[in-house]
Amino acid sequence: MSNTAAECGKSLLRIEGLDKYFGGLHAVDSVSFDVTSGMIKAVIGPNGAGKTTLFNMIAGYFPPSGGEVYFQDTLITGMKPFEVAGQGILRTFQNLKLNPHMSVLDNVLLGCHRTGKAGFLAGMLSSGKSRKEERQAVEAVLPVLEWLNIIDQKDTEVGNLSFGNQRAVELARALASDPPMLLLDEPAAGLNMHETEDLAQRLQTIRDQGKTILLVEHDMSLVMDISDEIVVLNFGQKIAEGEPQAIQRNEEVIRIYLGDDNA
C-alpha cells in the first residue's frame, strides 16, 4: 500500500504564522508549527478554538489573513483545494462529505482522481488508456476497502451505510491514491468506543507505513494514545506544543480542559 519513501525526521509540513480574521473575530492567531515526516500530530482545543479553520487554510478552502504554509518546501498558501490535493495532501471532513447516491466503490475511486490522467475526450471515446487506468484504480482501491472492512458493501449506495462505515469510506477515499499526507478533521466524531479503538489502530498502521497524519480531535484519550506530538489551540492561539506526556502535565492545558469543565 505504501510507496511513500518518508524520510523520517524531516519536516514535511511547515506552518508559519497563520492568521485568520472573520470580521472582528481572530479565529486563528499567528499559529506556527512543523509536522515531521512519518508522525501523527494532533491539534486539540475546545470547540471554537480554530482547529477546523486552521485545516481549511492548509487545504486551500480559504486564504489566510496572514502567514504561510509549506509542504515539502513548496509554498502551498494561495493554492486552490484541488491543487493542494494534487500536491498529495488529502483531507477528510468533520461533517462527512460523501456522495450518498454513489456506490462505496465510486466514492472511493474519486480519491484516485488526482493520480489519473484521462480527460473528457478520452472518457467520451472510452479510449484503451482510460479503461486501463480505470481498471488499475479499481485494483488499487479494493485492498483499501478490504482493510477497512467495507469491501462487502462496495456496490452499496453510501447513503445506506451506517455512520461508522461512512466514516470508513471517507478514510478510504483519502487513502485511495496513496498520498504522503492526510489531514483528518475529527475522524472519531460520532464513532462508538469499539469503532474508535479500531480507528486508533488503523491510524497507527497508516503511520507505520510511512504516511504523515495531521489530525484534529476532540477525543482526548484517542489523541493521547496515538499522537507523537500535540499542538493545543485556545481562542485561536497556540498555547502548548509537545509530546503527549508533556501536554498532559501542562498546567494551562489542564486548566482549559479540566478547569472549565469542572467549574
Binding site: 484541488f82 483531507r91 466514492n107 474519486l110 489519473g116 484521462a118 478520452a122 482510460s130
Partner: protein, 364 residues
C-alpha cells in the same frame, strides 16, 4: 459492455418504429420523429450539465440557435456572385465550395456544410466557454437567470438583425451532403434516410455521454454534483470541469440546431426563444435529472406530441406546467430509479399477498 445494452434496444426500437410507420402507411410521422431526434440531442446534452454536473442552464435554445443560424447564414451565401473575391478563390482552391445548378439554370456555389458545422461547433463552444467561466461561479437561481439572460440576448440578436432575417428567419438552406448519396434535407424522397441520420446522431451522442459518465471525468462530475467541497478535496478542478461540461452541452445543442436547420431548410427566431429553453429544462427534469435515458424518452414523447399538435394552443403551457409539477412534487423527476424500484417492490408485495390469499383459500 452492460451500459451499451440500452443503446442496442434503442437501435432495434428505431428500426421497428420506422418499419411500423411505413407498413401502416403513416410514413409522414417520420418527419416529426426526425425533428424530435434533434430536440432529444439537445436534451441529453443538457442532462449531462444539469443531472450529472448539477448546473442548470436556461440558455440551451440560444446554443441551438447558434448552430442553426450558422448553418443557415453560411449555407445561403452564394459565392458564385463574387467569383473574383479573394475569399472565393481561397475557398475554391481548398475545395470547400459545392457547385449546384438550380431549377432555373443558375449556377450557385455554396460553402461545404462540413466547414460550417465546424464553425458552428467552434462558435457555440467558444460562446459557452466565455459565458461559462464567469457564470458557472454562480449557483441555483442566479445561474438560471444568467444563462436565461444569454438566451434572451441570442433571441434579440437573431430577431433584430437583417442578416438573420429578423422575424422571418432564414429559408432556402441547401441540403447537407454527408457522403455521396446521403444528405440531410427535407426532401420528400429522403424522409426515411433522414430519420436514420437523425437517430444515428442521437445514438452516437448517447454513446459518447454514456462513456463519459462511466469514466474518471464522469465520476468527478457526479461527485461535484453531490458535494463540490469533496470533489475539490480529491483534486478535481471543479471550475474547469463545470465549464467543460457546459461547453459539451452547448456543442450538442449547436449540432442539433445545425442538422435541424438543414433538415427543415431554414430556421426562425422561435427556435431561440426562452420558452424553448424552458422546454429542454422540463424534459430533463421530467426525465429524472441524472438519467440520460429518461431525458431521451421524455424528449421523444413530449416533442413528438408537441410537433403533432396534440397540445394545441397550450403547447408552451404544457411544458411549463410539467416543470412546475415536477419541481413541486417530484424533485427527482418522474423517471427516477427509486420511483420504479418502489413500484417494483409494491408489485412484488401485491403478488405475494395474492399468493398468500390464494393459498389460504385453497386451505379452507
Amino acid at each position: 459492455m452492460k451500459q451499451y445494452k440500452p443503446v442496442f434496444i434503442l437501435l432495434v426500437s428505431i428500426v421497428l418504429i420506422q418499419l411500423a410507420a411505413v407498413l401502416l402507411g403513416k410514413a409522414f410521422l417520420l418527419t416529426q420523429l426526425t425533428m424530435s431526434a434533434y430536440y432529444v440531442l439537445v436534451a441529453v446534452g443538457l442532462c449531462m450539465v444539469m443531472g450529472y454536473a448539477g448546473q442548470i442552464s436556461m440558455g440551451q435554445a440560444g446554443f441551438f440557435a447558434i448552430g442553426g443560424y450558422t448553418a443557415a447564414s453560411l449555407g445561403t451565401i452564394n459565392f458564385a456572385e463574387g467569383t473574383h473575391s479573394f475569399l472565393f478563390r481561397i475557398l475554391d482552391a481548398a475545395g470547400l465550395l459545392i457547385e449546384e445548378t438550380t431549377l432555373y439554370g443558375d449556377v450557385i456555389q455554396y460553402l461545404n456544410p462540413w466547414v460550417s458545422l465546424l464553425a458552428a461547433i467552434l462558435i457555440a463552444g467558444g460562446a459557452a466557454f466565455v459565458l461559462g467561466v464567469p457564470v458557472l461561479k454562480l449557483k441555483g437561481h442566479y445561474l438560471a437567470m444568467a444563462t436565461m439572460g444569454f438566451g434572451i440576448i441570442i433571441y434579440r440578436i437573431v430577431l433584430g438583425s437583417r442578416v438573420f432575417g429578423e422575424a422571418d428567419g432564414i429559408s432556402n438552406v441547401p441540403a447537407f451532403p454527408l457522403v455521396p448519396g446521403l444528405a440531410v434535407s427535407g426532401d420528400f424522397q429522403s424522409r426515411v434516410s433522414n430519420y436514420y441520420i437523425a437517430w444515428t446522431l442521437v445514438i452516437l451522442g448517447m454513446i459518447l455521454l454514456i462513456n463519459l459518465i462511466h469514466s474518471r471525468v464522469g465520476r468527478a462530475l457526479r461527485s461535484l454534483h453531490g458535494s463540490e467541497d469533496a470533489a475539490d478535496a480529491m483534486g478535481v478542478d471543479t471550475s474547469r470541469y463545470k465549464v467543460s461540461v457546459f461547453v459539451i452541452g452547448a456543442v450538442f445543442a449547436a449540432v442539433a440546431g445545425f442538422f435541424m436547420t438543414h433538415y427543415n431548410g431554414g430556421i426562425g427566431p422561435s427556435e431561440a426563444g426562452v420558452l424553448k429553453s424552458v422546454r429542454y429544462v422540463s424534459i430533463v427534469a421530467v426525465g429524472g435529472m441524472a438519467n440520460l435515458w429518461g431525458a431521451l424518452i421524455m424528449g421523444l414523447v413530449l416533442n413528438f406530441l408537441s410537433l403533432r399538435g396534440v397540445f394545441g394552443h397550450f403547447d408552451d403551457a404544457v411544458f411549463g406546467v410539467v416543470l412546475v409539477f415536477i419541481m413541486m412534487f417530484m424533485p427527482e423527476g418522474f423517471i427516477r430509479k427509486s420511483f420504479w424500484q418502489g413500484l417494483k417492490i409494491r408489485a412484488a408485495g401485491l403478488r405475494k399477498n395474492r399468493k398468500v390469499q390464494s393459498e389460504g383459500a385453497a386451505g379452507e
